[in-house]
Symmetry: C2
Subunit: 428 residues, 2 copies
C-alpha cells in the first residue's frame, strides 16, 4: 500500500518532488509525440471496414429495394433500408428516423440553428427571444457546449451522478424556467465518464413537465453499440417510447452515427424523433438539401446488413480498444492507487476514461504532459465555456495510439499527476 500524499511530511514531499522532477526531465528527453486528445479510432479499427470500399462495384445495381436509383436525386430522409439500420442502432422504429449525412454533429448543429431562425414546431424563433438556456450535464462533450456557445445560448452546468445527470436539478430548471429550451445528454457510455443513464433517470427525463413547449432533450446516443465488453452490454431504456408513454411524445431528439463503427467522417448519421418533430425538420431540410448521400447509405446497408452485423463488427472494435483501456487503467491503479490524489472511472464502453485530479491541478497536469510531448484534451474542455470550476477533470482518450504508445503516454501522465499534486500540496 502506497502512502497517501496528504499523510506525507513536508520533507517527504520535497524528496518525492525532486525524484519526480528528475523522472520528468528524463521523460522529456524521450521526445514523445503522442495524441490522446480526441476520440479518434485507430488505424487498425479503420482497417476493419476496408471491405466496404469495394462492396459496391462497377456492376452493382444501386437501387433501393423499392427501386429508387441511389445514384440520382430523390429521397430527402434516407433510403428505407438505411432507416431500418439506424433505427436498430437506436432501438426505435424506422418511421421515427431520418438518415442524414456523414456525421451526427451537423444534425445537432442544424437542429439548434433551425430553432434559432424558425423556432420549434411553431414556437417563436429563439433568435427573437432575449434569453435561451441549455442545461449541460458536466463533465460532458465539448462539441455540444461549443454549439450552444456559438449561438449565444446560456449554459447551465448540471452535475453528473453515477447514474446520469442530477435529476432533481434538471427537473427544477426544466419544469420552472421557460427560457430553458434544451439539455445535452450522452446517455450511454457518456462522454467522458462512460456512465450509462439508469432506467430511473431515463424515466425521470421522460416524465419532465417543461415550462417551455419548445423544450427538447438532445439525446446524443453516440455510443449506443460501443461496448468494450460485448457480453456485459449495459442496457439503456429507449427514451422515445418512454417519452411517449409519459405523454411527452415530442420532447426528444435522438442522434446516432456510424462514425466509430465504419469511418470517422465518412459514416452515416441519423436523428430519431416523433413524426411531428420530423415533419417540422423536413420542412427546412427540403429547402436546405437535395438529399443526403444515398450511395454511402447503401454501402453501409450492404456491408452491415442489420444489427447483428453491426454487433459483430463492434466486437472487433472492442477487441482492439479493450487492451488500451485496460493498459491505462492498470497504470492508473498501479501508480496512483492509494495516493489520495486522484479518482477515475473504469468504463464499460465508449471512447474515454474520465479522470479527477486534486482541485486546481488539471490544467497544470495537461500542460506538463504537453511539454513532454503528450497532447491531452484541454483541461476544462469537458465543462461549459471550457471552464471546469474546480479544475479537476481530465478526459483521457486511449483509442488512437497503439497499445505500446498508450502505455508510454499513461506512464508520463501519472508522472505529471504526481508531480503537480506534490507541488500543489507543498504550495498549500
Amino acid at each position: 500500500m502506497m502512502k497517501a500524499y496528504k499523510d506525507m511530511s513536508k520533507e517527504e514531499l520535497m524528496t518525492l518532488k525532486a525524484e519526480l522532477e528528475k523522472a520528468y526531465e528524463d521523460a522529456k528527453g524521450k521526445g514523445l509525440k503522442l495524441d490522446m486528445s480526441r476520440g479518434k479510432p485507430s488505424a487498425s479499427q479503420l482497417d476493419l471496414c476496408m471491405p466496404m470500399m469495394s462492396i459496391l462495384d462497377t456492376d452493382s445495381i444501386l437501387n433501393t429495394a423499392e427501386g429508387m436509383d441511389c445514384r440520382n436525386y430523390g429521397i430527402l430522409d434516407g433510403i428505407p433500408e438505411a432507416k431500418e439500420l439506424m433505427a436498430e442502432i437506436m432501438g426505435v422504429k424506422a418511421d421515427n428516423v431520418i438518415v442524414c449525412g456523414n456525421a451526427s454533429l451537423p444534425i445537432m448543429y442544424d437542429t439548434i440553428s433551425r430553432s434559432m431562425t424558425h423556432g420549434v414546431c411553431g414556437s417563436t424563433p429563439w433568435c427573437k427571444l432575449d434569453t435561451i438556456k441549455f442545461l449541460c450535464p458536466a463533465p460532458g462533450y465539448d462539441r455540444h457546449f461549443a454549439i450552444t456557445e456559438h449561438f449565444g445560448i446560456e449554459m447551465i452546468t448540471i452535475p453528473m451522478t453515477e447514474e446520469g445527470p442530477d435529476m432533481d436539478m434538471v427537473e427544477q430548471y426544466v419544469n420552472n424556467d421557460a427560457a430553458v429550451k434544451g439539455i445535452w445528454c450522452v446517455p450511454k457510455y457518456s462522454n467522458p465518464q462512460g456512465i450509462v443513464y439508469s432506467d430511473r433517470v431515463v424515466k425521470r427525463f421522460a416524465a419532465l413537465k417543461p415550462a417551455a413547449e419548445d423544450f427538447r432533450i438532445f439525446w446524443d446516443n453516440a455510443y449506443a453499440i460501443h461496448d468494450l465488453y460485448p457480453d456485459e452490454e449495459e442496457n439503456l431504456l429507449d427514451i422515445l417510447s418512454e417519452c411517449e408513454k409519459a405523454g411527452n411524445p415530442d420532447m426528444v431528439y435522438e442522434f446516432a452515427s456510424t462514425s466509430k463503427v465504419s469511418f470517422a467522417g465518412s459514416g452515416i448519421a441519423a436523428v430519431a424523433s416523433s413524426v411531428k418533430n420530423l415533419e417540422f425538420m423536413k420542412k427546412s431540410m427540403t429547402i436546405q438539401t437535395i438529399g443526403y448521400d444515398k450511395i454511402n447509405q447503401l454501402r453501409h446497408v450492404k456491408y452491415f446488413k442489420n444489427l447483428a452485423g453491426l454487433k459483430e463488427q463492434m466486437k472487433k472494435h472492442a477487441d482492439i480498444m479493450r487492451p488500451k483501456f485496460e493498459a491505462v487503467l492498470s497504470i492508473l491503479e498501479r501508480e496512483l492507487g492509494g495516493l489520495g490524489i486522484a479518482e477515475w472511472i473504469s468504463p464499460k464502453g465508449g471512447y474515454f476514461i474520465s479522470f479527477e485530479s486534486m482541485e486546481g491541478c488539471a490544467k497544470a497536469i495537461v500542460a506538463k504532459c504537453k511539454e513532454a510531448g503528450v497532447v491531452m484534451t484541454g483541461a476544462g474542455a469537458t465543462y461549459p465555456y471550457g471552464k471546469d470550476p474546480k479544475d479537476t477533470n481530465i478526459r483521457i482518450a486511449p483509442s488512437f495510439p497503439t497499445p505500446e504508445e498508450m502505455a508510454q503516454a499513461a506512464e508520463l501522465f501519472v508522472l505529471c499527476v504526481k508531480l503537480v499534486s506534490v507541488e500543489k500540496l507543498l504550495a498549500a
Copy 2:
C-alpha cells in the same frame, strides 16, 4: 410557313381547336408517364461513373498526398487534392476553396443561415434587422428562391437580358439600398435560360459599390463545365479575380459541385471566396461539423485526376444530353415555328430549355401536360414566390427521359401549347 395564330379568323381557330382537342384526347389515351420536372441526370449518364465505385478497394491506401488518413477525423476544409480539383472547375486558386459535402445547395443554405444568426464578417446578424432583401434575376432557379423565402428575405425580381441580369437595375438596388444583402446568380448556362453572363456583365458585377458592407454575390456556377458542344465552350470570366481587381475582394461566394459530373447527391461540392470570407465561414463550420466526407473527396480525385479528366467525362455527358436537347428543339421549331405563340432559347450547355408562352398560358399548359401524364416543373417556379407575373415561363428539363420518351413528351408539350394558345385567343 405556318400561319400565325393571331392572323387566324375565329372560325379557323375554332376548327383548329377541335382538331387539337381530339389529338389531345388521343394523347391522353396513350397513358404516358414521363417526368421533365427536374434537371436529373439520366441512368446512362450515371452509368458513366460506375468505375468510381471500385476505384478505392480493399487494398487502397486512403491517405492524402500529405499523409492524412482520409478514413479518420481531421481536415475541416477539404483534402488538398480535392481543393485543387474543385478550384480547377471554378477557375480559381485552391487557397480560395473549401470542399464540403455531397451537394452545393446546403453550402448556400448554410451561408444564408449563418448570415441570419451571425452576420457576415462582423456585421449585424440579419435576424436582428427589420428587412433583408435579395435580388433574384428571373427566370431563375427555384431552389435559390426557396432558401431566401424560407428565411423571410424579401425577394426583388430582376429581369434577365441576353447577356445576364439587367445590370442597370442591379446597380440601382445594390449601390443605394443597404437592405439589399445579396443576389442569386447562375452565371454560366443559367437555370433555366442557358445564358452565359457576358464579360461586360461580370465586370459590372465586380465593380458594384454596395450600400451594405455585408452584401454578397451568390455565384452558383453549377454548370461550369457542362457544355453541350464542348468544342464551342463559352467562356465565363472569373468573378473572384475580377472582384479583386475592382477592389471588392470579399464581395462574392462562388459555388460548384460534381452533382452532374459524377453522381447527383453523392458528389462533392465546394465554395470559393476570399480568404477573409472563408476564415469567417470556418469559424462556424468548425462548430457545425467534424469535417466532410474525405473518402468521397479522395474517390473523386482518384477518378477524375484533374480538369482534363473532368472534361473528358463531360464530353461523354454531352454526347448523351445533346440528342435530347436537339430532339426537343427540333420539335419546338417544327411544330411551333412561325405560329407566333411561343419563344425559346437554344442553349449551348446546362440542363434546361427555357420556354416562353403567350401571356397567361404557362400554368394552363403545364396543367394540360400533367393531365396527359407528362410532369413539367410547375409554372411560376422560375420566379420568386413561385409567381411568374406574366405567366409565360416554362422550364423544360430534357435530361432524364430517354430520347424516345423525350420526343413523346415534347410532342405532347407542343400540342398542349397550341391548344392552350388557341383557347386563350378565342377567349380574348
